[in-house]
């Protein structure tokens, strides 16, 4: 069996992965925006999601939540239009959001996104979730939209 025969299935799995990551990010961003609705737009302290459930998770102000929604939506778009490379944009956005608290702590600058160490880990996860499928698609020769088989 040829390698080309495996590409349609891989394309579906790449799209499904980016869709899942995008939906998770979008949902977290929406919840983050809701809990941070009374917080400052940028700067800290932010509001922690799921705090009522004693789950200590990510902290958001409205700017951090909006960016999470935008990059999650890009992940969903990458999946829906079957252009995995679009995930590079969303993934790079999440990667920048991930390093923001580290750089802010290192330089003593303002915590623009009200992020904590948990945001560092979560945003890194979202970045990997959008970037790795794009890289896999590229390595498998699925970079250009014309080579991607139609969905079934």
């Amino acid at each position: 069996m040829t390698k080309a025969a495996s590409v349609p299935d891989l394309a579906t799995r790449v799209a499904r992965t980016q869709l899942t990551v995008g939906v998770v990010a979008l949902a977290v961003g929406v919840i983050g925006f809701w809990v941070a609705r009374n917080a400052d737009f940028s700067g800290g302290p932010g509001a922690i999601i799921f705090e009522d459930l004693e789950l200590r998770t990510m902290s958001y102000n409205r700017l951090g939540a909006v960016l999470t929604i935008v990059f999650g939506a890009i992940g969903i778009a990458a999946s829906l239009v079957r252009r995995p490379m679009l995930g590079l944009i969303g993934g790079t956005g999440f990667a920048l959001m991930a390093v923001q608290p580290l750089l802010q702590w290192r330089t003593g600058a303002d915590n623009l996104l009200a992020a904590t160490g948990r945001n560092w880990s979560f945003n890194l996860a979202m970045a990997l979730g959008l970037l790795v499928p794009a890289v896999v698609a590229r390595l498998a020769g699925m970079g250009a939209p014309s080579t991607v088989a139609p969905t079934d």
Partner: protein
């Protein structure tokens, strides 16, 4: 006897045995994938209290290895090397725990990071097992959880490892082989 070659149903690739990474998920692998995500969330949640610039809570936690020694050589290591260079150690902890959490959450290089997590859980255990009001089984369970994730290669279902193996297993090279083993 030579191992019989099967065609992988997911990729149609005859060179890849079906069990090697792209098997169709069943209930067992899904439960293990969920378990991996839970352990990833555990690390993610605990990165939160290790915050610069002073890392005060982490310093107090690490100092337990000296004030309530579990294993004397480890206490000596903490006392003579880690605490005098604590800021560097604390930054390393913050970054490594974040990476372990993210990779276990997404199922990326799961076997590698499960081993790293087991090592980190062992270091934590050696710091606090004899600290008052700690529950030692929590740390034994953490070590066991990571070893279970390692043994099950739990990133191949609902994880990026499943995708990554599709391209890694088709390629030659020692580095690619090592990366594939990490998944």
């Amino acid at each position: 006897m030579a191992r019989p070659t099967t065609t992988n149903p997911a990729t149609g690739n005859p060179a890849e045995p079906a069990i090697s990474g792209l098997r169709r998920p069943d209930a067992n692998t899904r439960i293990l994938a969920g378990f991996r995500i839970m352990v990833g969330a555990l690390w993610l949640s605990n990165v939160g209290w290790k915050e610069p610039p002073d890392f005060g809570a982490l310093r107090a936690f690490t100092s337990n290895a000296v004030s309530n020694p579990v294993f004397p050589p480890y206490s000596a290591l903490v006392d003579n090397i880690i605490l005098p260079h604590f800021t560097m150690f604390a930054w390393g902890t913050l970054i490594l725990e974040g990476v372990v959490g993210a990779c276990l959450l997404m199922g990326l290089f799961t076997r590698l990071f499960a081993l790293v997590g087991a090592g980190m859980a062992t270091a934590i255990a050696l710091s606090v097992l004899k600290t008052p009001n700690e529950w030692p089984w929590a740390y034994y369970l953490m070590i066991g959880s990571h070893l279970a994730i390692f043994a099950a290669a739990a990133g191949r279902t609902w994880g990026l490892d499943g995708l990554l193996r599709t391209v890694l297993l088709d390629r030659p090279g020692r580095l690619v082989g090592l990366l594939a083993k990490a998944t």
